[in-house]
Subunit: 230 residues, 2 copies
């Protein structure tokens, strides 16, 4: 059941200052909550990362999506995944570093970061509902080589909430793209996580620096308890 | 006098591992070395920033450009600037924060961040030479709403060196855009600076994390002393 009040404006006590959230023109973008990044035994862990750092953000992200759906705020999911023939994967990306497994190799949950494979799918508790947009992206940023910007403009979306993983890579990159394109962006602090907590904290600080040069941040509790101007 | 050896490949002892630099297919992108960001009394300082943090990077950037020009490495300059009527400036950008001066207002060196005004021009020691590409960009990233990607592809550029300011804002944003587009990127550590040294260090660490997820970093001395494979 959607409780949508047209024209509703929420006032969130965010950092670095109050964020005005026009419910009707807001979408939430949940970044890359995919099994291969989050679950033990997945690609992220084979790269040597501590996936347990991401657990609590998955729970908060679930609450964020629940609240957004109740409010009538549009939900968008992104996943980093490539075509089976890797035609959309730059060689520079596949060849970078010295990992045990590369994009397209066979991992514990199918071929790594290939669209349609089990590992590239969302963790079950954050599965998209019917009608929610899923953006499959070849890069870290969700605006490059996708239809995201056009979709947002077509739907008169001007304000974006962000959650997902990892904070300093795909979330930050996408938020910076969105900021350049004129969207007012807020990162939900506890609905995002990094394998490296210090990088998450640095990213939050960079976003709110210089009067919110990239945007705002707030924990979910402050968003859910925000007062309505009308 | 340009000493260009076609097919020359330099091996730079960068972090997180050796960077192979094909001279013929490399460009350097010098980000936003503009008076209003760097000089005392400019826009950056009116925002409360400590512009003295940027001084040493200007000197190193000058040496980097000198070395690149001698090598025949193509030099590209970017500047963040808007049309006099602000038609390319999103309201979200102009209205963000509570600064004393906003984009388009009259500052000490002309209208703030307006193309053609003195403050938006490059610091004298980093002025472009005739024939060098200047990208005027409305965002923090140099790929959004510009012809940069097409220019690089037209000129068979696959590898990019980066310098400029500020590290975590325009430099990082542009480097992430370039990485998504398949360019092999190296940030020249001492040719870039931030008003906030901790943000610069965090950005360098984020770039090289996870096997160089965004690219490589090295100080200029290591690039200038790099050995040639042929």
């Amino acid at each position: 059941m959607i409780k949508k009040t047209f024209g509703e404006m929420l006032t969130v006590n965010a950092l670095p200052y109050q964020f005005l959230l026009p419910v009707e023109h807001t979408a939430v973008i949940m970044i890359d909550m995919q099994r291969d990044f989050i679950l033990p035994g997945g690609f992220g862990e084979t790269l040597g990362n501590d996936v347990s750092q991401l657990t609590s953000a998955v729970k908060v992200a679930h609450s964020l999506l629940y609240w957004c759906r109740r409010k009538g705020i549009r939900v968008i999911h992104t996943k980093e995944a490539h075509a089976p023939d890797l035609s959309d994967c730059p060689p520079a990306k596949r060849n970078r570093g010295k990992p045990k497994l590369r994009i397209g190799d066979a991992g514990s949950m199918g071929r790594i970061l290939i669209d349609g494979e089990e590992g590239s799918d969302f963790v079950p508790e954050l599965s998209p509902l019917p009608g929610e947009l899923v953006i499959v992206k070849p890069g870290k940023g969700a605006f490059y080589a996708t239809k995201l910007d056009q979709f947002l403009k077509d739907n008169k979306i001007t304000h974006l909430l962000f959650g997902g993983v990892t904070t300093e890579v795909c979330v930050q990159t996408t938020m910076r793209e969105a900021n350049d394109r004129g969207y007012e962006c807020m990162l939900v602090e506890d609905a995002t996580a990094s394998y490296f907590p210090a990088f998450k904290e640095a990213t939050l600080a960079m976003i709110r620096a210089q009067g919110g040069i990239v945007g705002w941040t707030a924990p979910l509790a402050l968003i859910m308890s925000a007062k309505s101007l009308i």
